[in-house]
């Protein structure tokens, strides 16, 4: 394993982007970072700028208004970049599927590496998703 990959596995920096969620997934993503669940023990850290991030954590159904911003944020991230879709709305539109302002899933806009199911997923599920992503990265 080369040094860069080793470093990447030990410190995946996350960028959280809400694309129109109801906030339920957002507070669970945040809860996953707080003492009870402590996602930070895997080296994951929530970052403010897309330019610092390795993993884009997207919550919520993608609305038409937010699509351009999502693409801009995605393009600003340095390669290699990974996308995690958190919650049913993000994966398929969920309960909002069929609404006129909502896209039918994040993977119709940008490629997605890991899907975390649930409405909202529990913090344990989010940790599981991030660990699954790291394992996938390790195997690649």
């Amino acid at each position: 394993m080369n040094l860069v990959k080793w470093a990447r596995l030990k410190s995946p920096w996350l960028l959280h982007f809400n694309t129109g969620a109801c906030n339920a997934c957002d507070i669970e993503v945040l809860a996953a970072l707080t003492p009870r669940y402590d996602l930070e023990r895997f080296g994951a850290l929530l970052k403010a700028s897309p330019r610092h991030a390795d993993v884009l954590v997207v919550t919520g159904p993608v609305t038409r208004q937010v699509k351009d911003r999502l693409l801009r944020v995605y393009n600003q991230m340095p390669d290699p970049k990974f996308v995690v879709a958190v919650g049913t709305c993000c994966i398929s539109g969920g309960v909002f599927n069929g609404c006129y302002n909502v896209y039918p899933g994040l993977d119709s806009i940008i490629p997605v590496d890991a899907y975390i199911f649930g409405c909202p997923p529990k913090p344990e599920a989010i940790i599981n998703g991030v660990v699954a992503l790291l394992k996938k990265l390790e195997a690649s």
Binding site: N18, T19, F96, Y100, S108, P120
Partner: protein
Amino acid sequence: MQEEELQKTEKKSAYELFFDIPVGPQHPALKEPAFFKFRVEGERVVGVDVDVSYNHRGIERALEDRNYIQNIYLIERICGICNVAHTLCYAQAVEQLHGKEIPSRANYIRLMVEELARIHSHTLWLGVAAHEIGFDTLFMYVWRDREVVMDLIEMLTGNRVTTAINTIGGVRRDVSDEAKDKVKKGMNILEERLKYYRKVALNDPTVNARCSGVGILKPKDAIRLCAVGPTLRASGVKNDVRRDDPYTLHDEVPFNVITFDTMDVFARVLVRIDETLESVNMVRYCLDHMPNGDVRIKLPLSPPVGEAISRVEAPRGELIHYARSNGTKNPERYKVRTPTFENLPSVSEMLTSKSDYEVNIADIPITLASIDPCFSCTARMEFRDVSKGKTWIWSLKELKAHCSKSRR
């Protein structure tokens, strides 16, 4: 504020230039996609422009396509944090259409879960506010203790966040005696911790330095700009739907309406901590006085023709739902008025420098957070073509055709 108005109010600045700082829709201080444009003169903020359209999902239109039972699950996803208030308001509106009363035990459970959700929402906010002032230790402490109430909600309803406990005609689940004991124990832990946070808020120099005298909203302005909820009460105005227009059992369960008169972010912190303590006592009262009996009555799927308005004090303020039924299984029109939308003019007022009060760029995050913004509620207007200046509603067929055409 509009561009022309800004031009008019501009006086010659020492910097000669005004800068516009765009904030959002992706920004570390905002957990949600909203866009703010701050016009600054050096460090002073002199104008604010708000755009909350990023969260528009078209819920009100979707509500008309689904039946009353399916709508419970859509309604609670308007906002994940105040989902209990939304389902409660919706269930009340539909029961009003039916003209039916629900069993007393169901009312007690509704009130108890509503107050538990308020505890969860206010402690969540306290943590976020601590994060915004750079006091991350407090953030981590508060969120650790918040897990106590999350566990209780999960035990009572089956899910941590979106509970779906309220349903048309009552509640979905009964509360067992063991559950009651666990809730009581949880309330004791929370009360002790909340009293500690109250002490921290009152005595800590960091909280005092960052919150006192910041984000001033005078009572006169708060009333003029239709502020609601803790934002209004922190400006010293005693206003609470639970007291003014009691629903469920709020006329029976004793509680105090908390107000503070310092009108700043500090007052909003204390109002929320004290309200949480009130909620703890209300939950205890419900546990002690809960009668035996059914928790749900069966109601037909289609309510009779009519209109209904229901009001609930959500954690963020007054929430209003309006329903119109045409006797079918889908509502003919459903309208939601949410508290954050009502508080946006107030936050613009708080963030604009006046002759007697300066707003600095560094104060923007905490002032913005002080109304407990929840933009997911906010941007769900009906479909309108504003560019042509007329209201124009598409049929479902046209909408579907448009969606399939523009989908990639």
